[in-house]
Amino acid sequence: MGRKGIETLVGLFVLAGIAALVFLALKAANLGSFDSGDTYTLYAKFDNIGGLKVRAPVRSAGVTVGRVTSITLDPKTYQGVVRLQVQQGVQFPNDSSARILTSGLLGDQYLGIEPGGSEKNFNAGDTIKQTQSAVVLESLIGQFLFNKAADAGSTNPPAPVAPASGARK
C-alpha cells in the first residue's frame, strides 16, 4: 500500500474516533420510531412534575403512545408545563386527565393519560386541564405520620370513657 493509502486509512481512523466521541458526547439521541411527522402536540400543567424527564414515555393503559418533548416552568402560575408529542393515530377525548406515574417502586416516571367520556377529542396544541401531580415520597410519608399521630390522638381519649359507659348500665 502506498503512502497515500496509509494516510487515507489513518484519516478514516481519526474520523471514526471523532464520530465515536460525538456519539458519546451527545449520546445518540435516537428515539425509536414515532418522533417524526406523525405526531401532534398536547400540553399539560402540573403543580409538581416530580422526577419526570424530557423524553419520558406517555402511556395510556400502559401502552406507550408518545413522548414528553419539553418541560418548562410557567412564570405566572408557577406550574410545570409539560409538552408532549402523541402519535397521530391516537386521539383522546378532551376531558381526559393526565397523571405522573412511576413504573415500579423505584422505576422512572412517565406520564399517564386516562381517557375521559367526552365526545370531542383534543385538537393539536390543546392543554389537558385535569392533571394530578407526581407523588412526592417525602410529603406522602409526612402525611402518613401526621395521620398516625392524629389517629393516636383520637383513640386515646375514648379509653377512659369505657368504664364510664359501664357505670351507666
Binding site: R3, L9, A20, A28, R55, T64
Partner: protein, 260 residues
C-alpha cells in the same frame, strides 16, 4: 550485621538505577518528539500500524463487552424494577473504567508486543547500531514516531471501545430484551456528564497510551540482542504494561472520582 545491610543497600541502589534508566529513556523520548514534526509521515504510518490494525480486536471486544454487560446488568437491575437504568449503568462502567482499561490491556497485547518485537529485532539485527553509524539518531527516527503513534491511537481506540460497547448494550437491551428506548437514552443522558465521566475516561486512556507505548519501546530498545532476549522482552512488555495500567487506573480513579 553488615552482611544483612549490604545486600539491602545493593538492592536499593539497583532499584534506583533501573528507575533512573527508565526516567532518562522517557526524557529522551519526550525530547525527540519535536523532531517528528519534520517527518510527520513517520508518525502517521505508526498510527496506521498501531491504531488502524488494532481496530478489529477493539471493536469486537467492545461489542462483546457491551452485550454481556447489558445481559448481566439486566438480570440484576430487573429485580429492583430498574431495568431502564441499564443504559446508564453500562455507559458509566464503560466510559469510566472498562473502555480505557480493557482497551489498554488489549492494546498492550496487540500493539505493545509488536512494537517490542519490531524494535528488539532491529536491535538484534544491528539496524539501530547501523543507523547510529550513519549519524541518524534511532531515538528520533525509530522510537519517537512510535511513541507519538501510540499516544494518538490509544484514546481513539478507547473512545471507540466505549461507543461500540454502548451500541452493543442498546442492541441487547432495547432490541432483544425490550427495555424502553427513550428511557434507555434519556436516563443515560441525564446521568452521564461529558467532562466528569467522558473527559476523565479520555484522560485515563491518554495516560495508559503513554504507559503502554513507553514500556513496549523500553523493553524493545533494551532487549538482549538474542532470540531468547526478544521473546523475554515481549513477555515483559505485556506483564509490565498490564500491571502498570491496573495500578495507574486505581490511582487515577481515586484522584478523579473520589469526591463524586
Amino acid at each position: 550485621m553488615a552482611a544483612l545491610i549490604t545486600p539491602l543497600g545493593r538492592k536499593t541502589l539497583g532499584l534506583l538505577r533501573v528507575l533512573g534508566h527508565h526516567a532518562t529513556f522517557f526524557a529522551d523520548l519526550v525530547r525527540n518528539m519535536p523532531s517528528v514534526v519534520r517527518r510527520p509521515y513517520l508518525a502517521v504510518a505508526q498510527v496506521h500500524a498501531i491504531g488502524n490494525l488494532s481496530l478489529l480486536i477493539i471493536v469486537a471486544s467492545g461489542l462483546a463487552v457491551g452485550f454481556v454487560l447489558a445481559l448481566q446488568m439486566y438480570y440484576a437491575l430487573s429485580r429492583y424494577g430498574a431495568a431502564e437504568s441499564l443504559g446508564l449503568v453500562v455507559n458509566l462502567s464503560l466510559v469510566r473504567e472498562l473502555g480505557p482499561v480493557v482497551s489498554a490491556l488489549l492494546f498492550a497485547g496487540r500493539a505493545g508486543t509488536s512494537l517490542t518485537a519490531e524494535i528488539g529485532l532491529m536491535k538484534a539485527g544491528e539496524q539501530l547500531a547501523a543507523m547510529d553509524m550513519m549519524a541518524i539518531d534511532p531515538r528520533s527516527r525509530v522510537l519517537a514516531p512510535r511513541f507519538i503513534g501510540g499516544i494518538v491511537s490509544m484514546p481513539i481506540l478507547a473512545i471507540m471501545f466505549s461507543a461500540i460497547g454502548i451500541l452493543g448494550a442498546y442492541v441487547v437491551a432495547v432490541l432483544l430484551i425490550g427495555v424502553d428506548a427513550g428511557n434507555f437514552w434519556s436516563i443515560m443522558q441525564s446521568g452521564v456528564d461529558v467532562w466528569r465521566d467522558v473527559g476523565n475516561g479520555i484522560v485515563k486512556s491518554i495516560v495508559f497510551g503513554v504507559i503502554c507505548t513507553f514500556v513496549a519501546l523500553y523493553q524493545g530498545y533494551e532487549t538482549q540482542a538474542t532470540p531468547e532476549g526478544v521473546a523475554h522482552a515481549t513477555t515483559k512488555t505485556v506483564v509490565i504494561s498490564s500491571l502498570a495500567i491496573l495500578a495507574m487506573d486505581f490511582v487515577l480513579t481515586a484522584l478523579m472520582f473520589s469526591t463524586t
